[in-house]
Structures are given as C-alpha cells and as structure tokens.
C-alpha cells in the first residue's frame, strides 16, 4: 500500500527507470560489502540531479518514509543496509565531475563520482585527490565523506575531512544546506567536521568540493621483515619517534603475507613473523634522505631483511601484495569479517598478542593487515557464514576485539564507520550523556529520524537491552594488559 502510494507520488516527477520496486531489482541493494546483514528495501530510487534528490526527500518527509542514502555500497559496516519500510536513495547517477580548478587546486564533483575518477581527471594538471581507500576504484566520494574514509596515505595526508572544502547537502525536508566554503574555514559552527563521517544520518550529500594536491615527484617504499610482531610494532613507534611521518606505514602479519604470496607473488618473505611497508614521497632529494633514515631505524629496530624499491615498477610490485590482501584472504575462507579498531601505537604488540589468544579461543583464524602508522587495525576473521555457529563465533570474536581496543584507550572504528555492525559497541565506548548529545545533534538535523534510522548511534533503550556497560574511564576490562 505504502509502496504503491510512494511509487505513484515519485512517478509524478521521475521516469519509470528511476524507481525500482520489483523484488528482483531490489535484491542487489539488500546489503553493502558487509553481506551478513540483509534487508530488502521498499524501493530503490535513482535520481540524476540535486533537484530530484530534493523532490524525493520532500515526498519521503511528507509520507514519513525512512531514507537510506547509498553510494557504491562498498561500506564495511552495514551503513547502507536498507531499513524495513524505507527506501534506498542510490546516488550513483549523480556522477559528474563538474569543475576542476587547477590554479586553486580544487575539484567540484557530484557524490556518485568514484574516488579514483577524481585523481584520473586531475592527472592532466599534475594533481590528485590524496585519500586512497583500498576500494578507491569502486567507492564513491559521497560515501567517503559520509564515512570520513582514509587510506594507506592518510598518515601524512589526512582523512577525507582534511581533504575537502565544502559540501552541498539536502536536508530531510528537501532544503539545500551548504557547509564549508571555498576558503579554508566557514562562519559559525564547523558543520563540515560534524557532517563528515555522519554516515548519512544528517543529510544527503549532493556535491563535494575536494582539495587536490600536486602529484609527488618521486616515491620509494621499503619492505622490512621482522622475526617478532612486537619488534615490528616497536619499529613503527621508533620511526615516528625519530620525527619521520612517512607517506604510508603498513604492517602485515605472517598469516597475511602467506595468504598474499599464495595469491599473487609480491615477493614478501614467508618466514617473517611480520613485515612493514614504509613509503616516502616528495622531491627526489627529500625521499632519498628520508628512505635512508627509515632504513637505519628499521635496522636498529631489528629488521632481519629489507628491500627498497629501485623503480616505479618495483614500488608497485611491493605494494601489490598489500593491496591484494583482502581478496587474498577471501580465497582462503568462504567469508571474512574485517574489523577496524584504532589503538595507541604503543599498544600494538600487546593487542596483536591478545588477538592471537582470542583467535585460539574462538577457534577461528585471524590475520592482520593494517595501517600501523596510525594504529588502525584491520584484523580479518575467517569463517563460514553457512555454518551458524561460526557466524556467531565470528561476531563474538569481533566484539571482543572492539572491547579490547576500547580498553587500551582506542576506538571501535577508525575509518569504516559504526553502521549496523558496531552499534552495540557504541554502548561500551560512550556513556548515556554522550549518546544523548549525539541524539540531540541528530534531532537538530532530522527531527523525525528518517535519515538512515537505527545506524551509527544506538538508542538508550538498545544499550539497556544489549546489557553491556559503558566502561567508565579508569575501570579496567583486560587487567592483564598494560595500561596507556
């Protein structure tokens, strides 16, 4: 009934192909890249411009129908998961690069443009868009903003927030709201910071002005092998302490390097307990100086073997393993579950050891590939979703990792967002008063909670049902771990 009325109202201004409501056509939208959660939406609507977005939202607002914005659906936390009786607003057809200003080094793009397409278009001016999530050939810039996505190079160049200037957004009642400016700040409260990473709960992004950077003249990467995970973790801390901010600093444990080498041949040593990939970029002079400093620190930190790329082909070869890590793990297990906690760098070794213990406890393999430079972990838990007990254990294992991250002073998500997946763990990370503040912010933008309801911020009731207590600072959850 409601679906019929909605379709009839939308049909007044949208062509038939812009409204999907037959079951078979809805299926592809029933989940994002976290496919353990699925829902079939009421309908999927595909606007081609901002005015249509405004009209669609007005209709939904009047009919009080929930709206889940969706970019490319590569999210890993169930952020774009449809909600029962809600529509999916798919922004893939808003895919134009509107303008590139080479002198001011900015690009104005629609939300459905893929991350990689921006850099491709800017290439002719010697410029690029710095944040580089591994999903960059598929994920949309709108999704990147909604998740505040990062990538291998955000250690030096920042996350999405540090690389955008302004957004055009549409509020739930169909009004246009521009945040940020073409300058480096904007009047009033910093709504650009508030909306970036807000997971589609505050508004629908219809245009993004991004900053572009000059393509570095030169880049080199060092691969260093370690006999011991703790030593590799210490090497990361030593590099940072030496005053070096590498362009990227990634770590893979033995499980990950073995999975990768079985998949593509990147040349990683199979006997190392962990490897680090550390990149330097900039002018040739600066890179050569920095690389020699990095290699010295690695050596002093106990690296057993080091390879430094001597050509662009070698550099890409060394990175290819890291980039293929997820699919490589995907070959070994029917399903894997990617976690995303961030911890203080000095807790790396202790946390990795604890994850290994948890892996034994839950009887599920887990490999680690992650952004070591900013302490952002990506444990990949391998399981078989057709096996109900394995799915349950995988979720519990994941939950235990999140609690571990909170316990050492970290956070449950560094870049993938809370979405549906980590909603319960928000109850552990935040107390009632903080959650109430989040709800107040949501209400200020979206009084009836129609935008992506049930995601990102749990209700107090949900926290009560989940039963987990917020760990008040000072109370210890994993007493065996050193405290930071």
């Amino acid at each position: 009934m409601r679906a019929e009325e909605l379709v009839s109202r939308l049909s007044r201004f949208l062509p038939a192909e812009a409204i999907l409501h037959e079951e078979a056509l809805l299926r592809p939208y029933e989940c994002d890249a976290l496919s353990i959660y699925r829902h079939v939406p009421l309908a999927v609507v595909l606007p081609v411009n901002e005015i249509e977005v405004q009209e669609i939202l007005r209709v939904c607002f009047r009919m009080q129908i929930a709206v889940v914005a969706r970019g490319a659906g590569t999210g890993l936390s169930g952020g774009a998961l449809p909600v029962p009786n809600g529509i999916v607003l798919a922004l893939t057809k808003l895919n134009q690069i509107l303008d590139i200003d080479p002198l001011a080094r900015t690009a104005r793009v629609q939300p459905g443009v893929t991350n990689a397409a921006i850099s491709e278009a800017a290439n002719e001016f010697g410029l690029y868009y710095a944040p580089d999530p591994s999903s960059q050939i598929a994920c949309s810039i709108g999704g990147n903003v909604a998740e505040n996505s990062g990538g291998v190079h955000c250690l030096k160049y920042g996350l999405t927030l540090q690389n955008i200037l302004s957004l055009r957004t549409v509020t739930i009642d169909g009004e246009l709201l521009t945040v940020g400016s073409q300058g480096l700040d904007a009047p009033g409260y910093d709504l650009l910071a508030l909306m970036t990473g807000s997971e589609g709960l505050l508004g629908v992004i219809t245009e993004v002005t991004v900053k572009l950077l000059p393509i570095p003249e030169y880049a080199q990467v060092v691969l260093a092998a370690f006999d011991d995970v703790a030593q590799a973790g210490q090497a990361v801390a030593n590099i940072i302490s030496a005053g070096i901010i590498p362009a990227g600093l990634e770590m893979m444990d033995q499980g990950a390097t073995r999975a990768v080498e079985a998949f593509i041949h990147a040349g990683y040593p199979l006997d190392a307990a962990a490897v680090l990939l550390c990149e330097s970029d900039g002018s040739r002079d600066d890179v050569e100086t920095e690389i020699s400093r990095i290699m010295q620190v690695m050596r002093e930190s106990g690296a057993t073997q080091m390879t430094c790329s001597q050509s662009e082909a070698e550099r890409l070869q060394l990175w290819s393993g890291r980039k293929a890590a997820f699919p490589a793990v995907g070959r070994l297990a029917s399903d894997y579950y990617c976690m995303d906690g961030t911890i203080p760098r000095k807790a790396l070794a202790a946390v990795l050891n604890r994850i290994a213990e948890l892996s034994a406890h839950y009887r599920l393999a887990c490999v680690n590939v992650f952004h070591a430079g900013d302490g952002n972990l990506h444990p990949l838990i391998m399981f078989d979703a057709n096996h109900p007990d394995e799915l349950r254990r995988a979720e519990e294992f994941g939950g235990a990792i999140l609690e571990l991250c909170i316990a050492v002073g970290g956070t449950i998500t560094g870049e993938h967002g809370v979405g549906t997946e980590k909603i319960n763990h928000m109850c552990i990370q935040f107390g009632t008063a903080e959650l109430k503040t989040f709800h107040g912010i949501k209400t200020a933008f979206d009084r009836y909670a129609l935008l992506n309801p049930g995601k990102a911020v749990p209700t107090l009731q949900r926290c009560a049902e989940f039963g987990a207590m917020h760990v008040k600072r000072g109370q210890e959850k994993f007493p065996e771990l050193p405290r930071f």
Partner: protein, 352 residues
C-alpha cells in the same frame, strides 16, 4: 583538580537555577574577538596542567587552563610542535581559549587548522554534565565528530575541560625568502608554486613584498633557493611570530580590521588599499572603515566569508550572517549542548 571540577559544575548549576549567564574566560587574550561579552566571568585558569605527553605517540593531553606557551615549550623540548601554529595575541593565552577561538596561524594552509589536530575532548555542557568525545588515537569515526565541531565554537557549547591534540615533528629545516612583487602576481605565484609541490609553510604579502617560508630538508631548500631567487630573511622567526600575533606593522592601527577567508586564487580585493594576504591567498586581511555589506558581498563573490576581526564598536554582528536555515540549525545545535543558554550568549551570533 576534582575539587575545581565540582566547583565548575556548581557554578553551572547555579547559573541555571538563577537564570544567569556565564562568560567563559581563559587568559582573556582573545576577548577582543567576537561580539560583545556578557555574563559572569567563568575562569578556567585553575584547571590546568599537561596530563599526558608521549612524543612517540605524537599526542599531548592537557587541561584547558594550561598556558599555550607551556605546551609549546614542552613540545619543543622534544623537537615537536603544534602544527597549526596557534596565534597567542597575548602571552597568557590558554589551550581552552585557543580551541574555542578556533584560530590557526601562518602554517594553516600547508598543515591544517586546529580542528585537524584535535583528537578528543572532555567538556562540561550546559547541564554541568561531564562528557568525553573522541580519544587519543589518530583515527576515530565512532559517533559524530563533536571534538572537531567544538573548535571555533567560541565557548557557546560548553566548557572545554581537557583536550588531546596530535602534534608533529618540527620541520628539519626552514628558510624564509622575500620577493619584491605586486599583490596580483604574488597570489598567482603562490598558487602556482603550491601546485608544483614547493614546500611553502607560510606566506605573507603586504606593501609590495612577498615573504615565503619553506620547510623541508636542508639540501632541498638550498636547491629551491637557487631556482626561486629572492632575498633570504634573517629575522624569520620573529617575522612569522609578528604575523601570527598581529604585532607586525600592518596591524598597528586603530582602523577596523576585516578578515576575509576566500578562494586562494581570487585576485587582490578592490575594497581596501591596505591589505595583507596570507595562507597562499586564502586569507585577506583588510583595513579601514569598510561597509560591512560590501565586505560580505565581496567575500561571498569569492566563495568565502568576512569577519570584523577587530574594531572598537559594532560588536554585535562580527561574523558573517548565516542564511535562515543555517541560523535555525545553529540554534538547535546550541540547545542540544546548552539548553538553558547560559554560555557566552551572543558571542558568536546575537540570536543565541
């Protein structure tokens, strides 16, 4: 410190009960900034001290009343810095005031604003509730980014009690060069240089002189010195301090000072003949009795906004007016944090 905290919470409780307002004040170094002040002084100086600093983590955590100078001295001893080069405006500037004012200095265009370095905060809201947002880690997307949202909120949302900031290593080497050149060419040159990857960490054009600070390895800067030319500036540290804190000659005047934050490549503005350009063109300081409507129209034309940064009167519409939808949203956000409207009323906009 807990006693001070209790006292703060009582002050807030009693303001709510008595329906009075509070004017949050650290060192008072930025009292000139924003609309006129009102309310009882709420002094944050006593809640001070560095709580935690681990150079290897690149994170410092300190209480709001900590003098900014103490933080910067501590960092410098470890060859680290606050990369947004915060303006002091007076020696007694505190960390809390620095965050609330949200102002960044000469390094802003190359390394980012104060909000980019804020990792977590502890705050008291308008109900006296003790809240924590963010944390001490580099990447964190759990919940809305309240931490960064507080930067520049001018104390209208609550008392920032404590903050964790990301810090950066000091640049290996810095060199300041001076060029004699007009404003239009300076703006074009700066935009082009940045696009070519020249490591400009500060820039300033005033009175036909472009001054540029470069940061990087010594050999790189030596090579750049050859290609760029220009005169080497010997007193570079004091020069950039004077730009940062507005003690440079340009700022020594009784005339009103406008701050126009606009697109970096915009040509020199025709609205005032006394202008100082910073941030590779993104920041234009304009002096003189400009019509507010003119300043605002010009800023909007170039994609930005205009603030009456310093003046002796007209302290009720300092900031660029907000569209109605935006203003109403601001009021609702203010109410979320401070439902009884007790903190810094009118300091940002007269409506809240």
């Amino acid at each position: 410190m807990d006693a001070i905290l209790n006292q703060y919470q009582e002050l807030i409780g009693s303001a709510v009960a008595r329906k009075t307002t509070l004017c949050i004040r650290g060192g008072g170094s930025k009292e000139f900034y924003g609309n006129s002040l009102s309310g009882e002084i709420f002094d944050t100086n006593a809640y001070c001290g560095v709580v935690d600093y681990d150079p290897g983590e690149l994170v410092i955590t300190a209480r709001c009343g900590t003098p900014l100078s103490e933080i910067e001295t501590t960092l410098r001893a470890n060859d680290q810095m606050l990369a947004f080069e915060p303006p002091y405006f007076a020696p007694n500037a505190t960390l809390g005031g620095c965050i609330a004012a949200g102002l960044s200095g000469p390094r802003r265009a190359s390394t980012g604003a104060i909000r980019d370095y804020l990792l977590g905060v502890r705050m008291l809201n308008g109900l006296g509730e003790d809240l924590y947002f963010g944390g001490r880690v580099m990447k964190n997307v759990a919940g809305y980014d309240v931490t960064r949202f507080l930067a520049g909120s001018l104390g209208t949302l609550g008392v920032i009690l404590q903050a964790s900031l990301k810090v950066l290593p000091l640049p290996q080497y810095e060199m300041t060069l001076n060029f004699e050149i007009d404003a239009a060419s300076a703006i074009a040159k700066l935009n082009r240089w940045v696009g070519l990857g020249i490591p400009i960490s500060a820039s300033c054009h005033v009175d036909k002189h472009l001054t540029v600070r470069l940061s990087g390895s010594e050999s790189r800067l030596a090579a750049l010195r050859q290609t760029l030319g220009g005169e080497r500036v010997a007193q570079d540290v004091s020069f950039w301090k004077a730009i940062r804190d507005h003690t440079h000659d340009f700022f020594q005047t009784d005339q009103p000072l406008w701050r126009l934050s606009i697109k970096s490549s915009a040509p020199p503005l025709k609205i005032s003949d006394k202008q100082l350009v910073e941030w590779n063109g993104s920041m234009r300081w304009c002096q003189g009795g400009l019509e507010p409507s003119t300043a605002r129209r010009v800023a909007e034309t170039h994609g930005g906004h205009a603030t009456l940064f310093r003046s002796n009167d007209n302290k009720h519409s300092v900031f660029h007016p907000l569209p109605l939808l935006m203003l109403n949203l601001h009021k609702r956000l203010k109410q979320t944090f401070d439902p009884h409207l007790i903190f810094n009323p009118g300091r940002m906009y007269p409506e809240f």
